[in-house]
């Protein structure tokens, strides 16, 4: 481990706010890229099921 303490890790000699904000934005964006298709799939399955039921009726 390069840093001696958690606060040193957070501060990174003054570069902490840059590094952590870059990683934070990246994490949020990547998570959004996974959540979006998962939610769309849920919605689609619901819609398709309703669509097929209507066809049968």
């Amino acid at each position: 481990m390069y840093f001696d303490s958690v606060s040193a890790l957070l501060q990174m000699d003054g570069h902490g706010s840059y590094v952590w904000s870059a990683y934070g934005i990246t994490a949020l964006t990547l998570i959004a890229l996974l959540v979006a298709p998962l939610q769309r799939k849920k919605r689609q399955l619901r819609e398709l099921r309703a669509h097929y039921r209507r066809e049968q009726a």
Binding site: Y2, I25, L45, L48
Partner: protein
Amino acid sequence: MWAWFHKWSSPRWFYQLSGRLLPWLAVISAVCLLVGVAWGLLYVPPDYKQGNSFRIIYIHVPAAAVAMAGYMMMAIAGAISLVWRIKLADMVVKCAAPIGAALTFLALVTGAIWGKPTWGTWWVWDARITSVLVLFFLYIGIIALYEAFENKEAAGRACAILALVGAVNIPIIYWSVEWWYSLHQPASISFTGESSIHPSMLRPLMLTITGFYAFFGVALLMFVRNEILDRERNTRWVRELVTAAAR
């Protein structure tokens, strides 16, 4: 060869195969990203000139690399969709655009955040940065163009053409740091000669690059699979799949 090509382009076959592939890709991506990021943030010593800000490299370079490679893949899918009228290729073009746009956005934003402590500025109209901004607008343009058409077949063709034309931008991005050398540094990783980055910094970078490529694969497969369900809704196999999942 042709049988292989046809099989691959069948949405049903692709749906089944991608479903089996997806968990593996997801595991590879998660492991590479988590290990690479932890290594890069916690264990690698800081750069002697840039200090700790250089740690942004572990997300900036992979995001930019995959944004460019993703564009090339999208342009090739566009060519396949134009020449052979393959539905699956058309879906890939449509689905790759938002993922590529998000990764290009990340490359630009992490680059700006890195630029502030390193160059003293968030933004500069350097050739590399400007051409990546053009890449971002190309991705956004493809999304907007697709939405602009009522007829989805015409939309697919227009997007494929735009993707192909925009591909000229990729070599421009790639060599921009050599042709118009200004603030952005040239490549540190070389496949033919010796890399100018220290191995201790390079190893975690290789991991996060692999992780981002695998992530792109995961996201693309998820988007394309949804698109397949939507467009093939009137086929028997999708009906059976959906009704079986309900039980």
